[in-house]
Amino acid sequence: MEVFWKAIAEGTRLLAHGDPYTYGIIALSLRVSGISLLIASAIGIPAGYLIGSRRFRGRSLVTAVVNTGMGLPPVVVGLVVYMLVSRSGPLSQAWTSWLGGIMPRILYTVPAMILAQVIISLPLVVGVTLAAVGSVPMDLRLQARSLGASGWHEAALTIKEARRGVMAAVAAGFGGIISEVGAVSMVGGNIEGSTRVMTTAIVLETNKGNFGKALALGFILIGIAFLIMNGMTWLQQSGGRYER
């Protein structure tokens, strides 16, 4: 057990001493996963609403596809994104041949990491949202419409009614990417000072055999995740006063 206490102490020390390396990777982790989550939520919540609230042929197929997306191996996502944005990948090739210019390199940069993380978290956000939205009674939505709600209002109301589930969706999406390493390391490259995030740093320390430091970083990551989740839960429950 001692090793854990040591790791926690080490983590606290790193934070307390304002170690710029540590703060740098924390900030980058939050930036990358935060932006990815924003994008994934902005696409995923509406998509989940549409799939969850409409009845259409093939809905169960779409649901299965989305659920499958939850099981996309990050490494494969990383590989695919890598291939797309690599110098010899189709994207760069197309850019170069059609537009005659050199595409700005995005491999080993933050945008590539964000792209990969959006792909990873999107199915989680969509999948859990659609299940949550599906539990809002149809008649409640009709009632809103009968009071003059447009499609947008109806969607907003439905999502509000399913808030706990939607928050769980966002939490799951966030959890999926803040802790993800395979894809970010593949497309980000884990370059110190530019694309190294907490998870890739943890892997690096593990590979170095610095298990203590790895654990310390891990605990910091978990602590930060807790603070964020606590904030989200607080939002999620704040309406609870008016709920049964």
Partner: protein, 263 residues
């Protein structure tokens, strides 16, 4: 109709369940494919053992040995290995084989190091030319070697700059990164040859003594399977083991990937 067949006495063949022998090694060795021929040959010679390869970074491999979670190590960071044995974590350390490091870079060679024979000079030239260099930046044998070359060039250990990337990743990944960014890096020959087809990199500097990459074998002290560890070490240092090492790669690349030099 159901024929009453006489119950045939089950031939109780004497199958001894082989004991596991955990070999912690580096990813580069595993990725080179050497184990795909080495391990089956060993297991044929010693059917009582079943080798389980754990391929991790050299640092982690040593740590696994320290925790006695591996029985025998095959790694390449001589100084650390010696410290490891001196600390009593390993019974002894023996040289097994070496391959060599090469400095690779884009064919265009913006730093103009092609054909140089002294690695330290080539490093200096890359640095002064402002070309991008991707470093492993982990605790691997390769990184250890890189640092020693920087030291020899009179440079202090470089820190992360826009032209010096600390990748903190495995050899294959670093090669990919160098290729993508038309950068230079130090690589072991085996990995480079294995991946050459997927890379846009060339060998620019090779042959310097300083670029030799020595692999050592260490049986872990108090290992779960100490006998197996000893047997593995003996076997890999034997003529049989050595010949397999010396032949591996000749067919595919026209040259061996590793050269045995048992001590």
């Amino acid at each position: 109709k159901k024929a009453e067949e006489p119950e045939e006495p089950a031939v109780e063949e004497e199958v001894v369940e082989p004991t596991a022998l955990i070999l912690a090694s580096t990813t580069s060795t595993q990725d080179s494919g050497l184990f795909d021929v080495l391990i089956p040959a060993f297991e044929e010679a010693y059917p009582e053992y079943k080798v389980e390869v754990i391929a991790v970074g050299t640092g982690e491999a040593l740590k696994l040995g320290e925790n006695k979670d591996a029985d025998v190590l095959l790694v390449h960071a001589k100084a650390k290995e010696e410290t490891f044995v001196a600390a009593g974590f390993g019974t002894e350390r023996r040289d097994v084989m070496y391959n060599d490091f090469v400095i690779v870079g884009p064919a265009a060679d913006p730093a103009g190091i092609k054909g140089m024979t002294v690695a330290a000079d080539a490093f200096m030239k890359i640095k002064t030319s402002g070309a991008l260099f991707v470093s492993r930046g982990d605790d691997s044998g390769t990184y250890t070697k890189e640092i020693s070359i920087w030291k020899a060039s009179g440079e202090t250990t470089p820190t992360a700059t826009p032209t010096y990337q600390l990748a903190g990743k495995g050899m294959g990944d670093v090669l990919k990164m160098a290729s993508e960014q038309a950068a230079y890096t130090l690589s072991d020959r085996a990995t480079f040859l294995k991946l050459e087809g997927t890379l846009q990199l060339e060998v620019l500097v090779e042959g310097d003594k300083a670029l030799f990459n020595q692999y050592g074998v260490i049986p872990v002290t108090d290992a779960t399977n100490a006998e197996g560890a000893q047997a593995f070490m003996d076997w890999i240092l034997s003529d049989e083991g050595q010949s397999i090492i010396n032949e591996y790669g000749v067919e595919e690349f026209g040259q061996p990937l590793f050269i045995g030099n048992p001590s």
